[in-house]
């Protein structure tokens, strides 16, 4: 993203933002079409106006200024803005000389808009794009690949907890000899998880993806299994913790109530929220074990601490939850290490006067 494209698009993204906030679909569509009429490049409208607005939706949710339901409403309106844009004559696809590509989200992924935007940008760049959308089971993706024989798959993921599923999709695509370009927040800000899962390429954003794909991706190597890319999986810590998730959540709830008596007075709703938070922590721990990177876990907890703070929930509860989880994991040295690192990091954040 260049500075000039940002400054040129800023007024339009402000206008789209206020339309989205009002839930005013017609105003939202008008603002992107007006941006186009005012001479903004279609790619810039997609990425600097619509994507920027969507980013803001996420930030506002994190800051507790939007509810999840409002986030969905805003996303639906942004989707309609994309649809209106792609029907506009100025957004006719390029000459179609680039080849064919499949754009899909990791199975279980709900954030389809980034992938949709990438699909539109690639279409503008002359690709023949098959956009499969969110919630694509690997079986469907692979069937699609066999039937259409694309030059590449662009796989979008925003939730780190879906990395094991993403890995299965990467392996399935590569086994069908189709190279995979991974993108989205799930793969890490520097793409380190894309590399670890042996994706054939990683792009930090849509523009980078367009550039990377302009030079053909190399054909993937011979078919392999998950443990070939991630030999640490043979210690079974991931498999065992992932399959014992429910019990771990339950035991952690009980353990926390022992150590923190006021928890016994929690309302049903409070208990439910606490259980959901613990389940999230366990899910992220499992995924950190899957990719063997404690940063995935620590980053998630730092983010959660921020979310809790913005909702005026004391983040100390996280330290207690981590301690209680850690007590149950003494048979899992890798998991124990991750929990210890994360607990120390959260404890530092919580006790630092600036937070």
């Amino acid at each position: 993203m260049t500075d000039t494209s940002v400054s040129r698009s800023a007024p339009w993204s402000d206008r789209l933002w206020s339309s989205v906030l009002d839930g005013d679909e017609r105003a939202a569509v008008d603002s992107v079409l007006d941006a186009l009429d005012a001479g903004l490049e279609p790619q810039s409208v997609l990425l600097d106006v619509i994507a920027a607005t969507q980013r803001r939706v996420g930030e506002e949710w994190a800051a507790d200024r939007l509810t999840v339901a409002q986030e969905h409403a805003a996303t639906a309106i942004n989707e309609r803005a994309v649809a209106a844009l792609s029907a506009h004559p100025a957004c006719r696809p390029g000459p179609g000389s680039r080849g064919r590509i499949t754009v899909a989200c990791v199975d279980g992924e709900w954030h389809a808009l980034p992938a949709r935007l990438l699909a539109e940008v690639l279409r503008l760049d002359g690709w023949r794009v098959d956009f499969l959308g969110a919630q694509v089971p690997s079986a469907h993706l692979v069937t699609h690949l066999h039937r259409t024989g694309p030059d590449a798959v662009a796989l979008s993921g925003s939730l780190p907890t879906r990395l094991p599923t993403a890995h299965a999709a990467v392996i399935a695509c590569q086994s069908a000899s189709v190279p995979v370009l991974a993108g989205g927040a799930a793969f890490g800000t520097d793409g380190r998880y894309a590399k670890r899962l042996r994706a054939d390429a990683w792009a930090p954003d849509a523009r980078a993806a367009v550039n990377l794909l302009a030079a053909a991706l190399p054909k993937p190597g011979p078919a392999h299994q998950a443990v070939d890319a991630l030999p640490h999986l043979s210690d079974h810590e991931y498999t065992m913790i992932a399959s014992a998730r429910s019990k771990l959540v339950q035991d952690t709830m009980a353990g926390m109530a022992d150590r923190f008596p006021p928890m016994r007075e929690y309302t049903e709703l409070q208990r439910r929220h606490t259980a959901e938070d613990i389940a999230h922590i366990v899910d992220h721990l499992a995924c950190a074990l899957y990719v063997d990177d404690d940063r995935l876990f620590t980053d998630f907890l730092a983010w959660t601490a921020g979310i809790l703070t913005s909702r005026r929930v004391p983040a100390h509860s996280l330290v207690l939850a981590l301690e209680t989880i850690g007590l149950q994991l003494h048979d899992f040295p890798r998991a124990c290490g991750f929990v210890r690192t994360a607990r120390e990091s959260v404890a530092r954040t919580v006790s630092s006067p600036s937070s």
């Binding site: 009002d22 839930g23 005013d24 679909e25 017609r26 105003a27 569509v29 008008d30 079409l33 007006d34 509810t67 999840v68 339901a69 409002q70 969905h72 409403a73 996303t75 639906a76 309106i77 989707e79 309609r80 209106a84 029907a87 506009h88 004559p89 199975d107 279980g108 709900w110 919630q135 089971p137 079986a139 469907h140 069937t143 690949l145 066999h146 039937r147 259409t148 024989g149 086994s175 069908a176 000899s177 011979p222 078919a223 998730r245 429910s246 959540v249 339950q250 439910r272 259980a275 959901e276 613990i278 389940a279």
Partner: protein, 538 residues
Amino acid sequence: MKTRKVPGRPLPDVTLEASPHPVVVLDEAGRVRSSNTAATLVFPALETGAPLADGVPAWLAEAHARGEGTAHGAVGDRTFRASRSAPAPGGAAWWFTDTTEQSAAEEALRRERGRTAFLVEASNQLLSSLNARRCMDTTAQLAAGHLADAAVVLGPSGRRRIHVTRAVRGGPATRELLAVDPAEVPGLADALAGFPAVPSRWIDASTVPGWLVPDGFGPVGSLMITSLPGNGAPPGALVLLRREGAGPFSEGEEGFARVFAARAGAAICAAQLYAEQSAVADLLTEDLLPPVLERIDGIELAGGYRPSRDDHRIGGDFYDLYPAGVPGGETMVVLGDVCGKGLEAAVLTGRIRTTLQALRLVEPDHERLLELLNGALLSSRHTRYATLVLASVRRTGEVLRLRLTSGGHPAPLIVRADGGVETADTSGSLIGALPEVQATTYSTELRPGETCLLFSDGITEARGGPFGRDMFGEERLSEALSHCAGMPAEAVVEHVRMLASDWLGTGRHDDMALLAITAPRRPRPGPAGGQGHGRSTA
């Protein structure tokens, strides 16, 4: 036992004669001192007293001059390994072992290993794709890389045109559909018909037509043709090309090329059969897929569907839309659940949808419609029954008038503009099980921003949550809906789908279906001078 050294004494020739190996003994100056009969048979030019180099090939003389302990090389049409020993200080003896058979065996082993490695690689690449075009590309590239300088895959052929895929060693595969006559290439028509082609040495490479040869390849030195067996699908052919000067294909090479062609043919044929089967499956599935829902006559509609098996696209839950024929008419939607799962249940959903489509044209009354449907299902050979909800919607101004009737199905939920959630007061018996059905219809209105949600029990009975065993339940569904006032229909559906899916996690689930009917929010007055964008044409 003690060995006594005898300096300077020549070894008795009788010892050398006893050796089955040729032996040549040299003095300090490198002249031949003695040799056995075996040696003189191999090296007839050996002369006692003459320099070694005069009687043996250069490779041995040079190895001796460099002071090496072993050497290996050809003598005439045989190969020998030579080993040096030093029977006396300054002198030397070369002992020879005939390695002709061993070398040939080693060479054969090396070639076999190369071929096996190539076949493994070829299988890996060919097996990875069920796309026929990609299989043909891979076949051409593999053959060009390992069997020849270029390769051409022909087929499948249409009535007058044929797909030609060419690759030069190390290059990409290119594909063309050409109107050419395969009979122009000797033996090609036979190969395309699945018969053995003529041997390579019978084909005059200069007669090869230009359309066969990749651009820029240059003159063809030799070529061979083999059939790509079709195994039930139409066969193709593989043509291997060598440049001038590369020599013809040997019998062994032709045999190996046929082994490769058999594998490639099997892969291409499997891909073709797969494509045909999936095209048939798609065609048959088409009518069973839930329809795409969008705004119709001022009514916002959105649907969400997830079959119980992730590798299926259809299941026992269904919804359908029957638009009003005229503006302001009554649009009907149905959402239901056939007893059972998977493809068999899906087939019955198709029957119900088709039956409703016809019946609604003659019977607008819901209860009567359900009776007719019940009769139709009872008289069919299926023993399954179904539950469903009918919703008829008519827009009056900005208000949607709604009639809802449940046939044994969970009653729809309605979220009001203030976030209140109501359950539609309708109930009835399930359809297709008993001779009589009863149902009550509930009528209501949706004001702008209000949504009526039809859902299947796959949503409410989804088991999961933090403890992995609780049902999502109608209470959680109502709670979720209470945040959905004023939201577009898609957003309501997405919101509920996401909550239910997150609740499930990776657990097993039933078919899940959702359908939202929403009265669009009032558009805000446009900005001054804003003319709206209904104008994008041309």
